[in-house]
């Protein structure tokens, strides 16, 4: 029997990986909930407000994008527009070549994963080193991130210690403190050798042109302190109208993502080094990446562009917990990824049309989302789109005949009577895949078709 790819992936998942993912997501989710409800009278109202701010921003990008471009230029930054992943990569390459730069240190940015920047630069003979500890481990393992905030949630410390030993970073030692110290020691020199520092942006204020970056390791700061050129790679949906909007968004981001009041480092970058400042990058480039976002904005799933990449929906999602991030075959996994990733495929949507199916539609994602994205509704819209585009969906029972029956009371009553067969014929002999998939895992209750109607009639006598 054929089932959905994500279900098959989950069935083959190593017990170790499943345990790592489950423990980490469960604990973060529980801390997040306690923190928000201990500290705020009505966190749900805050989520709704934050959602309204982001919705306003994405629906008025035509106003805010020119505004932010003007502010950034006034602040001394150079602004670039990249319609596609290819054009974003080419822009970074050109900036580096123009400066004669060969080495980049990178802070964590999901957009750079999306456009596969590091591989692109390596193919062009340039070095692009990940400096976020998780991303660094992903890079040395030639792996992929499996979580938006915790790229190596699928790995345990024993696997990491083995990788460090293989890379010559010291004899096997799985003490987390030692692992971190070794990475720090290795990376320190790399910052000093690099020509260019690349970061993402959690928010960009249209009012001031400030780039807001949150990290817990301080690596983005090192990237900026040690290099002369700062490149910011950012999706066009990261704009917020005003600086004061950041108060609510930053309050929600740390708490939702990692159950922290605030991330350890929150940086507000207004531009390149001013003449009066002793150090910092002398050149700053901001690359706004579209890569399918305009199409998302034009679709009936535009709310997904509110996402602030906190990962709370992944942490609470029972499907993500069972499947892990790689099951989603996408840079963005979990509930948000199940909506965003197929949409970003544009006309190749069918390739990822199975992702929106990977949900019991339990709605936990919507309940924790700091910008209140109605993820289940969007998943449903995409399921409908897949059906309209005739994308095959393994395991999903066909509904046409059922709908005919369920709209004709006579046929319905006949089926209620006929279902009695289920009690006598072994399930294996009934060629209905859905029934077999059910019965393989669960006992079927006794058929009582029509009994309630009979009871009602007898009572009426």
């Amino acid at each position: 029997m054929r089932f959905q790819p994500i279900d098959q992936y989950s069935a083959g998942l190593k017990a170790d990986t499943r345990a790592s993912v489950y423990q980490s997501t469960k604990s973060t989710h529980e801390k997040r909930t306690k923190l928000l409800f201990d500290q705020f009278a009505d966190p749900d109202r805050l989520r709704e407000l934050a959602g309204e701010i982001k919705q306003h921003a994405i629906e008025n990008l035509d106003t805010y994008l020119p505004q932010v471009e003007a502010r950034l230029k006034a602040n001394g930054a150079q602004v670039h527009w990249a319609g596609t992943a290819e054009s974003a990569c080419a822009t970074v390459l050109k900036i580096m070549r123009d400066r004669g730069a060969t080495k980049m240190v990178k802070a964590k940015t999901m957009v750079s994963e999306e456009i596969e920047l590091a591989h692109f630069l390596e193919q062009h003979g340039l070095e692009a080193l990940e400096t976020d500890l998780g991303e660094f481990i992903v890079q040395i393992d030639d792996d992929h991130p499996s979580h938006i905030v915790r790229p190596i949630i699928h790995k345990n410390r024993r696997e990491i210690a083995t990788s460090f030993e293989r890379e010559g970073l010291g004899a096997y030692n799985d003490d987390p403190g030692t692992i971190t110290r070794r990475a720090r020691h290795f990376l320190r020199h790399k910052y000093l050798e690099a020509d260019v520092g690349l970061t993402g942006a959690n928010f960009v204020s249209a009012e001031s042109g400030r780039i807001v970056l949150v990290t817990n390791e301080g690596n983005s700061r090192f990237c900026l302190a040690a290099t002369k050129c700062h490149i910011v790679l950012v999706g066009i949906e990261k704009i917020v109208p005003r600086d004061c909007d950041l108060s609510i968004l930053l309050n929600l981001l740390g708490r939702s993502g990692t159950a922290q009041d605030l991330t350890v480092y929150t940086e507000f970058i207004s531009g390149p080094k001013a003449p009066t400042q002793p150090d910092g990058p002398e050149e700053m480039h901001v690359i706004f990446v579209d890569n399918g976002r305009t199409e998302v904005l034009a679709s009936d799933c535009r709310e997904i562009l509110r996402c602030i990449r906190c990962g709370a929906c992944l942490n609470v999602c029972p499907v993500y917990r069972q499947a892990s991030g790689h099951a989603y075959r996408s840079v963005y996994p979990g509930p948000v990824g199940a909506v965003l990733s197929p949409l970003l495929m544009k006309d190749k949507f069918p390739q990822k049309a199975d992702l929106p199916k990977a949900s019991s539609l339990c709605g936990a994602c919507n309940e924790v989302c700091p910008v209140n994205i109605p993820i289940p509704d969007l998943l449903l819209r995409l399921r409908n789109r897949a059906k309209e585009e005739n994308v095959p969906s393994p395991g999903t029972p066909p509904m046409g005949a059922w709908a005919l029956m369920a709209s004709q009371p006579t046929a319905w009553k006949a089926a209620l009577a006929g279902g009695k067969l289920l009690d006598y014929v072994p399930t294996k002999l009934i060629p209905v895949p859905a029934l077999q998939a059910w019965a393989d895992k669960r006992a079927l209750p006794t058929w009582r078709g029509g009994e309630f109607r009979k009871w009602l009639r007898q009572r009426a006598k």
């Binding site: 959905q4 029972p318 019991s360 936990a364 819209r381 709908a403 009582r448 029509g450």
Partner: protein, 254 residues
Amino acid sequence: MLNTERSPITGKRVQLMATCLCDAFYDDVAAATVEVLEHLGVTVVFPEGQTCCGQPAFNGGDWTASRRVVRHTVRTFAGEDPVVVPSGSCAAMMFHGAVLEFEKESDLPEVAALGRRTWELADFIVNGLGVKTWPGSYPATVAFHRACHTRGTASGEAALALLGSIAGLKLAQFGEGEQCCGFGGTFSVSFPNISSAMGDLKLEHMRAANPDVVVSGDMSCMMHLGGLAAKEGKPVKTLHLAQVLRDALKTAKA
């Protein structure tokens, strides 16, 4: 999901939407619903032509098929009386899901109107009729599973209030109560591995609390959890909220 725009309740007559699962498997749940409502002085009308709320096709992505069934349901439940359904999931389908799939349809107003007068059973009893406590006794430890489709609605609190007020009934506390049981409609058959793993985890949490019975306002969750437990040879007693309310009533009348 919150069904905020409610038509006010006038009179004491309701239409019962029994649900396809009760029609096919759980006749006693539908019967208990009738008895519970009648105890509250409500006249229960059962529109004979009813079939299903249309949710399986809606969740499966076949909205054309689903709308066909919803249109049939709208015709079947004509009139102004509240529609009461012993399922948070089917109720949410009527006031939320159906509205979503009819967004671009000319008969959206009729569909939305049905949604406004559709109530999940516990919500109807507590918030529709204003009944906050329940008579009789039910000496058992109950693990109450709040079905996911009642998130953001008043149903979960309503059910807990009713159960909590029954003499002798002890509500069991168990881990990760907010997590889904793994049923998810067509999800249960197209993602059987994940679905059953979710259910096993739910059962593990519940069993740790050692309940006498697992109760929910939705038989779909119970069919899945009960079916998993039975298949592994460690059956769990599952009941619908309406059955507990009905059984408690029997002790009050005795």
